[in-house]
Symmetry: C2
């Protein structure tokens, strides 16, 4: 069985770097990884905030939030 990992981002350069290097490094045999881009999936913003995402990029693994570097706040994301 694989665990669920969700990578939330907003297309910023910090986000893209994290996605390419960091998310790519996850073991796909154990983790199913979903990438959510708030620019095109604005309906996922509320869900991310409920999970505790404060800034992007962020990776949520089994419900635990890991903020990776700092691209933008959720307030910025919501505009």
């Amino acid at each position: 069985m694989t665990s669920k990992a969700i990578f939330y981002h907003a297309g910023c350069s910090v986000c893209i770097e994290a996605e390419q290097q960091f998310v790519d490094a996850l073991d796909r045999n154990r983790y199913s990884v979903e990438v959510v881009h708030f620019g095109t999936q604005r309906d996922r913003i509320a869900e991310a905030e409920r999970l505790g995402v404060k800034s992007v990029p962020a990776l949520v693994i089994d419900g635990n939030v890991f903020h990776i570097n700092y691209g933008a706040s959720m307030a910025d994301v919501k505009g």
Copy 2:
């Protein structure tokens, strides 16, 4: 060939959580992961600072620094 990933931490609770969930999720077939605890490996502090580590926990993959959440600053680490 595997890439090199180094996880720097200082034993704080934020560090331990990141190590158990985040570092464990890396694909060990592609990444060789070294865990450095500054409490016992103080001689690695200068190396981490040279790489750009500003706070712990931090993961350096192929020379790129990813700060994960925030446990303590390097100033705190150095005491």
